[in-house]
């Protein structure tokens, strides 16, 4: 293959890998917003916490697969507790976004400090599991297996999510609750339970992303801010609450990142926020937003 073409394919794959990782974080965030109307500032902290848990489980069991199973589970449980004991109470105050913002920001600060006290402030040593290490070769292109694994894993979760949301009765209930919780609860469905379930699901996805990212990125206390900001941009630009929007924008951002580096490296720092500012100026509710919440 022509080296230039190979390079573009590789760059496209890089964009896909990071975009899909971003999607895993952002989809949970947007799902929670769409359902509960909460802008969860602590979402990225859950993502980071899961990466740290991955390290801990690895230290105990030495199995990446075990940590891929356990860490998101613990994160989801934590998400459930947060929803039940904090967010639900605050929502009852009826103060809207600003209260939830302060609350979730407080939670993210507590998580960040706890992580620092338990695991220290330096980055942790997490290597790629041996079974996924190395390069895959096809048609003259060499690409890291682990990145392909991330792409595959994210698509699996996307498929799972879409199936649950659009093909099952549970999904119907969830979507109905999102659009009119009052009506659904009249129908005899326990809406708080549905809310809690969705929150846990969002946290679980952040957890999966955290474990997937741990060997690829650097696990240190600033990880949440690093990825959180990007996820935030994705959710806002895609339209708060829109899963499709999050998907499209995650990939766009990923590719914009790769090809931006390739062709217009001087603009790379401005790219993300410039993109956000332009899109929001034209469409204040994002690409797929449905008006105001």
């Amino acid at each position: 293959m022509n080296p230039a073409t190979a390079m573009y394919i590789i760059q496209a794959l890089h964009g896909l890998a990071y975009g899909m990782l971003l999607f895993l974080v952002a989809s949970g965030l947007t799902l929670i917003f769409g359902m509960v109307g909460i802008l969860n500032m602590a979402h990225a902290s859950l993502f980071m916490l899961s990466a740290y848990l991955c390290y801990q489980v690895l230290a105990f069991t030495n199995s990446f697969w075990m940590s891929l199973f356990l860490a998101p589970l613990i994160t989801a449980c934590l998400g459930l507790l947060l929803e039940r004991f904090f967010l639900r109470k605050v929502q009852a105050h009826g103060l809207g976004h600003i209260a939830e913002l302060l609350l979730t920001m407080g939670i993210s600060m507590v998580i960040a400090e706890s992580v620092k006290s338990i695991w220290g402030t330096e980055s942790l040593v997490i290597s790629i599991p041996p079974s996924l290490d190395g390069l895959a070769s096809f048609a003259g292109i060499h690409y890291p297996i682990y990145r392909l694994f991330i792409i595959g894993l994210s698509f699996c979760i996307l498929a799972l999510l879409v199936t649950v949301l659009y093909k099952t009765k549970l999904g119907k209930i969830i979507r109905a609750t999102a659009s009119d919780p009052g009506m659904v609860s009249i129908l005899g469905i326990n809406t708080p339970k549905v809310f809690a379930g969705v929150f846990a699901l969002g946290a679980w996805m952040a957890g999966v992303a955290g474990v997937a990212a741990a060997p690829m990125l650097t696990v240190f206390p600033g990880l949440a801010d690093q990825v959180g900001m990007d996820a935030f941009v994705v959710v806002v630009v895609g339209g708060l609450g829109s899963l499709l929007g999050a998907f499209v924008v995650s990939l766009t951002l990923g590719e914009l990142n790769s090809f931006g580096v390739q062709f217009i490296p001087k603009l790379a720092p401005v790219l993300v926020f410039g993109f956000m500012a332009i899109v929001l100026s034209l469409k204040p509710n994002g690409f797929f937003g449905e008006g105001d919440h």
Partner: protein, 444 residues
Amino acid sequence: MKVLNVKGYLFVLTLLMMGLIFCNNCIAFQPLAGDIETFNPSFQYFDEDADDVIKIGLLWPFSGPAAANGAIYWLQIGWAVHDINTQGGVMVDGKQKKIVLIKGDTQMEPAAAKRAAEKLCLQDNVDIIMGSTGSHIAAIGQNVAAKYKKIFVNMASYSDTLMDQDKFNKYTFRTCSTTSMLANGLAHFYANRPEKDFYILCQDYAYGHEFAENFVQALAQVRPDARIVGKDFHPLFVKDFAPYLSKIQGANAQVIITADYTPDSNNLTKQWDQLGMTIPLAGPFVLNPLALQSIGEPYGKGFVTVQSCLLDLDKPGNKEFALAWNTQWKRWKDPLYSTNLFQWTGSTLAQATIGTYWLMHVIEKAGELNPDKIVATWEGDQTIIFGNLYSMRACDHQAMFNMHVSEIEWPNDYYEKSAGPIKVTAIPAEKIVPPPPKGLKNCQ
């Protein structure tokens, strides 16, 4: 008159000779002569209200997102201070005075930094301030310190412009290197090496640009046939370096020059390994044990690191320093200090320790804590620490010393299970220290 028999005479002679050996510099303390075994960075307590002590304020982020950075300097400076204190202290005003460290928490925010610096000067009444990570924070620190006539020792901020006409004041000294010294040192290292195609990947930040410019200039002088095959400046805190690295692979570079620091440098190293790259990285912060361990064997063999104080194990005192440090590290249980990052000293971990030893030598020579006396003594001072000569340029208060460059080797007999700098090349100070900034009164 048989007051002394032969044995007694010999005894007195031996005592005298030993005295001569120990007092060849006639200073009261020697690096590593103290009771370093009792040092633990997590348990350093100082009596801030004690009389007759030398008070040093540390202006670093000790809380908030950048707290890790403060911890590193608390450890380094604490080491030297503990060493000196257990030897009795520093000879000042005819008395041996112990050193007391007081934290001034900048939280990495300018407003908090100013508050902290003022508290150190006015409330804690420190004699000296050491600082500070972040050039904008250091600028505030040196300005406040000068206002209250306190010595400010810059041990962590590399920006060349910190000592220029606008910001220089006579109470500020810099014991660490400048960005240009690092870049020049690296360029001189490549003067006699086979590699000649370089790709520059730095942070899109004043520091990154400064490093790149200086490297290119110095390289053009010492290696006219070298080529810069590409140059990229990336934003701070890049999550995924893969696009940059693939681009570099396509550019046929032989070395990647990068001035990145953590977390960027760690991410870069990890993703460099994931893409199966073989083009070595070279820069001041590529020798990070945590990043190198996570990429597995051969732990970044072939990387090139440049630092002011890489320990050259053949030089006197260096091996002892490294071993004493490593022995102590095994006792530190606090997660803050127990990671492999702190396993071996040298590189960035020794810089402020050496700076502290130097400062204390200067204070001892000055014999008093009067800032003007210290300034007069330090200007032009020359001191040897761990076999390296450190001299203070009188006109702009920039420390001059050899820069050390080394290829990282693995396996080696020395650094347990990790790659390390074994064959250290010293680049002489006169080749790498930039000329004093124009416009300074004393420099003309």
